[in-house]
Each structure stands twice: as C-alpha cells, then as structure tokens.
Symmetry: C2
Subunit: 313 residues, 2 copies
Amino acid sequence: MSKVLIVGSIGLDSLETPFGKKENVLGGSVSYASIAASLFSPINMVGVVGQDFPAIYVDLFKSRGINTNGLEFKEGNTFRWKGYYEYDMNQAHTLETHLNVFADFNPVLPQEYVNSDFVFLANIHPSLQLNVLDQIEKPKFTMVDTMNLWISTTKNELIEVIKRVNMVLLNEGEARQLCETPNLVAAANQILEMGPDFVIIKKGEHGALMFDKMGEIFSSPAYPLEIIKDPTGAGDTFAGGFIGYLSHTEEINTCNLRKAVIIGSALASFTAEDFSLDKLKTISFADLQERYSEFEKLAAFESLGLLQKQTVI
Amino acid sequence: MSKVLIVGSIGLDSLETPFGKKENVLGGSVSYASIAASLFSPINMVGVVGQDFPAIYVDLFKSRGINTNGLEFKEGNTFRWKGYYEYDMNQAHTLETHLNVFADFNPVLPQEYVNSDFVFLANIHPSLQLNVLDQIEKPKFTMVDTMNLWISTTKNELIEVIKRVNMVLLNEGEARQLCETPNLVAAANQILEMGPDFVIIKKGEHGALMFDKMGEIFSSPAYPLEIIKDPTGAGDTFAGGFIGYLSHTEEINTCNLRKAVIIGSALASFTAEDFSLDKLKTISFADLQERYSEFEKLAAFESLGLLQKQTVI
C-alpha cells in the first residue's frame, strides 16, 4: 500500500475574517495536506513544533492514522502566524510571523519514511526540499509547492528542486513571477521545460489548470462558495487531497490525475467553509463523493453534434 | 427561422499590442457580436457610423447575410477608439476616445426588425437599451451587456434594464462593482433577485460562470492561448456566439445554454488570436466544431466511482 510523505510547516494561526476570529488554531501546510491525504493513504508526516503545541492536535493526526514519528518536538514555541482577511478573501494580510522553532527546521526522515512512494514537499526553503529528496529512496511520484519569497531570493535552488520532481504546484501569481510572463500557458510551458512531467497552477476562486509535457491541459473549476469563512490552507488541502487520492489509485495516468485535481479542489472547498481544519477534519468519503458529483454538474456540457446552417424560410 | 437583433457600437479602432499595431480597423460591440452570431442565424444590426466608414466593412456585414437596414449613416465621423495593451492583456489602456456620430446615437428599429426573436443589447447607455426594448414586439430571449461607467453613473436605469431582460452578461469587475461584493456567487444571486432568469459572469482568461434562478451554476473554462494577439472584442464575440447559437437551437434549456456558452468562448478565443475581426471572420463551422472538441477535452474528467478505504497490509 502506498505511503505518502508530507514535509512542511505546522503552525498555530490567529486570524480574523469577516466571519469571525480564532486564536492559536491548528495551521501550517503539513496539517492541512496530511489531514486531506489521510482520507486515502497512510501518511508519513515531517514537521517541527514547540513545547506549546497542543496535544489535541497530535491526537487529531494520530486519529487519522498519520505516522507522527517524523514530528519533531523542540524546545521553544511553535511557528505562529497572525493575520486577517478583508472581504476580498483572495488576499491574506499578515500582522505577525514568529518562526520560532521552525526557523531552524532541518527535516531528517525517520528510517521508516525513506521508502515512501509519494512525496509532497510543501512550501519550505528549496535547500530543505532538496535535502528531503536526497533522503528518499525510490519515490513513485514527487510534488513540490513553493512561494513568492523563494522565487525572489533563492530562484536557482528552487529550479534545482523543480528539475528533480514529477510535479510542480504553484499559484497564479507565483507562476507569473517565476517565468516573468503574465500568460499562464507560457509560464507552464517554461516550467515543463525545466524538467517536471506536470505543472498545476492554482487559481483560487478560478479553479486550477494542469499541464503535461504532451501539451495536454486540464481546466478544473472551483466550487462556487457564496461564503468563504477562512481560505487559509485551501491550497495545502488541495495538494494533500491531490496526492492522497493519486496514491490511492492503481496508476498515474491522465484519468487519475484529473480525478485527483477534482478531489483536491473539492476538499479545498470544504476547508474554506470553516476556520482552520474545523470542517476538513469532519469530511467523510460520502461528503467527498457528493461534492465530486457537484463538480461534475458544474463542469458538464454536451457534445455539439453537427452544426448545420439553417435555410431561411 | 429565428432572427437576432444586435444593438450597440460600431467603431474604428487604432491599437497596439506586444504583437503589432493596427490603424482604423473595424471594431465595436455590434461588429464582433454580429459576425459571430451570423454563423448561425440572420442578424438584424442596429448601429451608427459616419461617412468615413469604409465600404469594405459594410460589404463584410452583407456577405454574412447581416441585415444592415438598421445601420445608420450620419454626417460626421465614425466612433473611434485608440489604445494599447501591455503584456498583461487583461487590461486595455485607452489613449483617445472620439464618440463622433455615436454621441447622439438613438436606436430606432426599422419596422422589419420589431419581430426579432432574440435580442442582444450590447453596451450602450441603459436608457437607449430601454428604448430598444420598448420597440421590440415579443422577443423570445433578451440579453444585456453593460460597463463600469453605467454602473457608476446610471445605476437605477441599468437596474430597470436588468429587470426586463432574460439574461445579464457582465464581467467579473462589473459584477463586483454592481453588487458591492467581491464574491461572484453572491453578486450573481443579487442580480438574479433583480429579475432576470440568467446571469453570465465573464472572467476573461478564467472562463465564464452562468447562473440561473434554480441555483444551477455552470463553470466554463477559457481556451488556453499561449499568444493573445489582441483581446479587443472577445467579450462581444462571446455574446454574439452565445445568442447566435441559442437562436439556432430548438429550445432554451440548460443543455443548449451550456453549449451556447462554450460556442461563445470558442469564438472569443479565435477573436483573440488576431487583430480586429481578422480571424473571427474566417471561422467556419468545421473550425468551430474542432475548437468545441478541444473545450471538451480541456474540461473532461471521469466519475469518481465508489471510494473505498484501502486496508493496510
């Protein structure tokens, strides 16, 4: 059975949106991605937290069958982010960032993790992502996420990571920044030239685009939510749902990759419906199947048939 | 056989994009929408031009079977727009606008137009749109487009128009502005409350969303173009293709509305591939059917089947 390795940040978030306010709730890419992926496969989690990290969150991970042997407990405080969203939920405003124990994060894989089949390198310093790739034995599928900071400050190292993975996941703005073009198709093609087999560009409320080396493109809708309570972690949920589902399938092919994109999008929509992981952690296969069907209805249109000019009567 | 009435602007555009420069080429909402719609149905065109309007453009309209009896030739010059696009093709920059004869445009329908079945009121002053609605006898389907200017300056009149039509077509920014919310689902629902049966929100490179009163939503992808030579008129092409195809079908139902959205999007993608109507005017049913198939491939994903938890070996 496939095992999924997920490496990235774990944090405690304090945030306010037009729909409420939360203090020190579970956050971080690994938290969202692991809970999402754990619906499908056993997860090997790698991250670092401080002594202030609430035991209930560790219990949550364990209750999902997540292997937490790669979760390091260090002296000091957990990574904390404080921010807010205004009515335009596409933009997070940061008030405070305290890296705390995350500042010296140096992911070392427990021996039992090195044969993980699927690997998601969530957004951390590219040199750490390279480190993790060096520790993995023979992964079937590797995927990397990143952020604007690394594109500005450590672009060459980031490109080294991109060369070595199967899939690059990044958002619209990051794709444009990395490739210095406003055109997303041009950006994706540039990234594919660097080496990976696939690129996914996340467009938030506009869905996602997946590109492969054969020139095939998949355009996935986003689930149209009238109320977005808290978009934090939606991108990481997408990534976790995507790789979790993919690891659950028999084969990495176009059909399964596309289904994985929809699964990721569906889970991301649940995440945005409540604060932190409050909704995501309650989602069952039945909930997910229902939302998947809604995506089908959302995107469906019939074939055209033969167009024929009508004759004027 | 259904006849489609199209009312709006006809102009001569001078523009520059990163891919070239054109002087005094055919533009205006009626030009794009009529050429697109004329693929499917006889068009009744209403607009005003000056004595400088080149005969070749009138010939182009006539060669498509467009009825130009509602095309008024007035003393003076044709509406002219001068602008440019930078690499971010989503944003047109206006250098000059000369309304010329368009300033006093007062659409009066020739008697032979008043029984048109399908009506597209392209972007003009809402009071003129109301005028046109008053002149139509018993349309089967009416659709209105607008712009940010009328939302700012004549919102009440615009809402009067919205109340009286079947479909409202507007872009993302206009929807947000009209409804004072960043959330497009909330905006669409607000507009549906005003009276129309359907709302389409055009999102440019992100495709389009169609909403109906029953809460059904259709998310259409955009065709991923690596090179956009000139996006001018893409929205009007969408509108023309949409209403043209719809008028060509037997019945206004979800299936045909969705197909019409894809037809509109496909034609809009051809428009953006070259300057002015240079590409659009060459498109055949075969070209359109091929691109429609590409939209099908772009949006396709299989059903999920029953999710089952794998058991750990």
